[in-house]
């Protein structure tokens, strides 16, 4: 699909959570603002808008990116998956349940992005060590939990997926 720059905006057509969406976006529109303001997908959040806190972590073409560092205009033809998508599909149901059971989610503002980052790790490395979990999640800021419970929840999910006790 070609990109047309017309007037004030850029026409893009992409797949978001399995649905085809077509919009004209301002060239400066970030992916996270596109998702939240143009598509009403409020599950991921804007935390720092400069790529440090990770609250806007989203999957683009299978890889996790910062929604605040990617321009929507660059995503023509892309496949985007948000927390809403991976929740509705059930893909991370076990991880979400582990977060609830372990109280790895307090205020919940970082949690959706934290889950996407954790799912990314478990997809690439089914049996991560605690240090590997900490390293992979080191781009997602959580002020509430102190991370220990999050590491526990990810570890427990990995164990369960590998047939072990939680």
């Amino acid at each position: 699909m070609s990109t047309h720059i017309a007037g004030m905006g850029v026409d893009v057509s992409l797949t978001v959570n399995g649905e085809r969406v077509t919009r004209r976006v301002e060239a400066r529109r970030h992916l996270i603002d596109f998702l939240r303001l143009d598509l009403g997908l409020m599950g991921l959040h804007t935390g720092c808008e400069h790529g440090v806190c990770g609250a806007c972590t989203v999957r683009v073409d299978g890889r996790i990116v910062r929604g605040c560092l990617v321009l929507a205009a660059a995503l023509d033809g892309a496949t985007v998956e948000t927390i809403e998508g991976v929740s509705d599909s059930g893909e991370i149901r076990d991880l979400q349940e582990a977060f609830i059971a372990r109280n790895a989610c307090q205020c919940g503002f970082c949690t959706p992005a934290m889950l996407i980052a954790a799912a990314d790790l478990l997809a690439a490395k089914p049996q991560p060590t605690r240090a590997e979990i900490r390293e992979h999640l080191a781009g997602n800021y959580c002020r509430c939990t102190g991370y220990h419970a999050i590491v526990d929840a990810v570890e427990a999910t990995a164990r369960r997926r590998n047939g072990g006790a939680p």
Partner: protein, 839 residues
């Protein structure tokens, strides 16, 4: 009902108190289905962007808005003069803090900007992006004024007085003294002293400050969706200063993305948003961006404390003397005031220890930096670092192991109630048992052996301890007696619905602590229903009992007790109705798992849903005079003690790379006594999260300024926060000493971690550096400061003033404004971003 619930009994029916029950509101949060203020969109909603001062102190000569108004999509631009007629100013003082003074403050200033980041104009547009575009075109002409930057010189004659009407830059001063301090120091076997610095921090809630205000001119009602910890307080503030009847203001907290004290204050820019909404009679939203957060969220903990401790030949503390200085910005923050942190320091130093002679002075000064105010564990981390730092110095001076020194000096278990030399009343603490529990957890001797072994290999590990006390369940003695309209009481309403489910509306609020979870546990147990039959309503001034909200660790202790009492009252009322229906005396019946049962046999007599159906739809079948009050409200306030103190002890195990100065945290432990634990899962994570917040302050976080008063941290790449990779696993243990002030017996648990962690880190670093005779006392303990203490890089600070204990290299007198090497220095950052046209 005569029956008293005994939360200690774990085999009772519907026994939820004391169990690790997951949070009911977590399911929506993990799916991104929460609702934070920024997720809300209202019809005709407009957005605000603020123009902020690039100067620490400047006269506002002129604000030209003409060009901004030409930006398509811009609706209005407001200056201080536009808003002032619609909002009365506030002065943040408390009457019981004698002599305290501050200046009147408005939503936007009229004549002067007094810190970098102070909002001076507000642009309202159809989107935030357009509002920012137009804000860049607001031309503010400033005439820069000399600034009062350093707290050390704030009271000097040569320093400009920020508010000439106040006469000087002194906000508050207090000396808290008991016994004969000078005599004790004169008679001391050894005296140790050090100068401690606590770096200026900010809370960095991941959800920035957020407000969406909507005014309906036809009904005269102001509705404010607000990320706040204290909706009823804010209702009163909006009403009072905008001259509205309190009943015409409704404050609603949907989900709140972290607070830690940051969201319990009145921010001038948020007041501006409410006033603008009223003037424009439409919904107006403001979400702070991260740069605005650094410059306008409250800062905290900017203290310099000179401390000394006298000990006798047996290693017993005989006296503590501290001199605290703190700079709070140009205004005391409304309505809690910015003098409370210093006041807490002089109340809390020495808190865990048994000694008689005490003198603590705090001096709170005004300066041209971001205002400071209460932030998680207000004053505690500072007081604990000073106390525990002196304790370790004293232990060293008399040749005792730090654990043995603490054993000799901690207040003995079983000697309560008692009052500390600082005047704090302790109902019941457990320092000795907590220390014993901690030592069992950490394997102290093993750690010492490992330390010794590794030193031979050039690896330097240290273990540091910190005993602490924590102030929770505050009474009106904290704010109310000073004239602040801040509620120390709280309430809960519990209602049985026709299907037998239960609604509980509480005045305490949820920002992730688990308030809804514990209220649900308590109400389910008190009424006698399954926990999934209870739903909790929080954070709405229209539908919840009047209360203070969640701060100072009061949610469980105050809100929880109100919920327990309300639930028990509903059960009593229900059994009265059941007695009439079943022709039994209410005392012979019970309500268990949603069934009316015979108390003695447990035999089921009637589902609660059936009783409720009859009460609500067939009340004609009941005796006419029978009360059928299936909704009850109870309120609770503490009465005997101004505060319910908790206590605990932490230990930190870390490694210092003496070539790079880098600290690696290996393990952290905490034993804490928060009284009755309602939900261990929640308490443990409160403790862990609090510890990491304390570790961040100890090692990384610092709001640095240039000597001219320019804020040097404008992003999360400048202001470093703890991330998962640097943080250790944390083990949590408990001792339970319930308060007798309430049936529930709960005290607070949210701040203990933050209170003790920095002190434990400091002592562990100094323990690791012992072979080098080097010590650090200035937070954050950056690689540069550690290397300076080791003499490996030049110290950029004046020579320390110490005496008594063995001389050691130290960077104890680190100047407060000196930025550390690991922070990029970019003085132009905020000037570039705030100093738009005309700056």
């Amino acid at each position: 009902m005569s029956e008293v619930i005994d939360p200690r009994s774990v085999d009772r029916p519907n026994s939820y108190i004391g169990k690790s029950v997951p949070r009911p509101n977590a399911a929506k949060l993990v799916e991104g289905r929460g609702q934070f203020v920024d997720d809300m969109i209202l019809p005709r909603m407009a957005h605000v962007a603020f123009v902020r001062s690039p100067h620490p102190h400047a006269k506002i000569v002129k604000i030209d808005v003409a060009e901004a108004l030409e930006v398509p999509g811009v609706l209005r631009v407001f200056t201080g003069a536009d808003l002032a007629p619609h909002c009365d100013p506030w002065v943040a003082t408390l009457a019981h803090l004698k002599g305290m003074k501050s200046a009147p403050q408005l939503p936007l200033p009229l004549e002067r900007a007094t810190w970098v980041g102070e909002a001076v104009a507000a642009v309202v547009a159809e989107s935030r992006a357009l509002a920012e575009d137009a804000a860049a075109k607001v031309a503010v002409t400033y005439a820069p004024l000399p600034a009062a930057v350093e707290m050390e010189t704030a009271l000097d004659a040569s320093t400009p007085v920020i508010h000439p009407d106040l006469g000087d830059n002194l906000c508050f001063q207090r000396v808290n003294e008991a016994g004969k301090v000078d005599d004790a120091f004169a008679a001391a076997h050894r005296v140790v002293e050090a100068t401690f610095h606590s770096g200026r921090h900010t809370g960095l809630t991941l959800e920035p400050r957020s407000i969406l205000a909507d005014y309906n001119r036809a009904s005269g009602k102001l509705t404010v969706y607000h990320a706040t910890q204290a909706p009823h307080m804010m209702q009163g503030v909006f009403a009072k200063h905008m001259r509205l009847p309190e009943g015409d203001v409704r404050v609603i907290c949907t989900d709140v993305g972290g607070s830690y004290g940051i969201k319990v204050h009145v921010y001038p820019d948020e007041m501006a948003v409410a006033v603008i909404a009223k003037m424009m009679a439409r919904p107006v939203k403001f979400i702070a961006d991260r740069l605005e957060s650094f410059a306008s969220d409250i800062h905290a903990r900017d203290h310099r404390i000179k401390g000394r401790m006298a000990v006798d030949a047996e290693g017993r503390i005989t006296a503590i003397d501290i001199d605290d200085l703190t700079g709070i910005g140009p205004y005391s923050v409304y309505p809690r005031t910015s003098a409370v942190e210093g006041n807490q320091v002089v109340n809390l130093v020495g808190g865990p220890y048994d000694f008689a002679n005490y003198r603590a002075k705090t001096t709170v000064v005004l300066q041209n930096k971001t205002p400071t105010c209460q932030y998680r564990a207000v004053g505690h981390p500072i007081a604990t670092a000073v106390t525990e730092g002196l304790v370790d110095l004293a232990a060293d001076a008399v040749g005792l192991d730090p654990v043995e020194f603490r054993r000799r000096n901690l207040m003995k278990d079983g000697t309560y109630p008692r009052t500390s030399p600082a005047g704090m009343k302790f109902e019941g603490l457990s320092h000795e048992k907590s220390l014993d529990t901690l030592l069992a957890m950490i394997g102290y001797e093993g750690l010492r052996a490992e330390q010794q072994r590794l030193r031979g290999q050039g690896i330097h590990r240290g273990i540091g301890f910190a005993s602490f006390i924590e102030l929770t369940n505050p009474s009106p003695f904290m704010y109310g007696i000073g004239g602040a309209r801040i509620s120390a009481q709280d309430g809960c309403t519990v209602r049985i619905d026709p299907d037998g489910s239960v609604m509980a509306a509480t005045g305490v609020t949820e920002q992730g602590q688990g308030t809804e979870a514990i209220i649900r546990q308590i109400v389910a147990e008190a009424v006698g229903v399954a926990i999934d039959q209870v739903r909790v309503i929080t954070g709405d001034t229209l539908t919840t009992p009047y209360g203070g909200g969640t701060w100072a660790c009061r949610g469980a202790g105050i809100g929880g007790e109100a919920a327990l009492q309300a639930g028990m009252a509903v059960k009593e009322a229900t059994l009265k109705v059941a007695g009439a229906m079943l022709q039994a005396t209410p005392d012979t019946l019970d309500l268990v798992s949603g069934e009316i049962v015979e108390r003695r046999s447990g035999q089921a007599r009637m589902p609660l849903a059936e009783l409720a159906r009859i009460v609500y739809f067939r009340g004609d079948t009941l005796p006419p005079d029978l009360p059928r009050e299936l909704m009850q409200t109870r309120h609770f306030i503490t009465k005997e003690y101004p505060f319910a103190f908790t206590n605990g002890v932490q230990a930190c195990w870390l490694e210092v790379d003496v070539d790079t100065g880098i600290v690696t945290l290996l393990k952290h432990w905490c034993v804490e006594d928060c009284g009755r634990i309602i939900n261990p899962l929640l308490v443990d994570e409160q403790v862990r999260g609090g510890i990491v917040q304390g570790l961040g302050g100890a090692l990384y976080e610092h709001c640095t300024y240039s000597p001219e008063g320019q804020l040097l941290v404008g992003s999360m790449a400048d202001y470093l926060v703890p991330m998962a990779a640097e943080m250790p696993d944390i083990e949590v243990g408990h001792v339970e000493t319930p308060t007798k002030e309430s049936l529930l017996g709960a005290k607070g648990a949210g701040e203990a971690g933050t209170a003790g962690a920095p002190a434990a880190v400091m002592n562990a670093i100094n323990d690791a550096l012992k072979p080098f005779d080097a010590r650090v006392f200035a937070q954050p303990f950056t690689p540069e400061r550690i290397l300076a203490a080791l003499g490996k890089v030049p110290s950029r600070w004046p020579a320390p003033v110490r005496s008594g204990a063995s001389p050691a290299r130290t960077e104890a007198s680190a100047a407060t404004a000196a930025p550390s090497l690991n922070l990029p220095r970019e003085p132009g950052l905020l000037t570039r971003l705030f100093g738009r046209k005309g700056g």
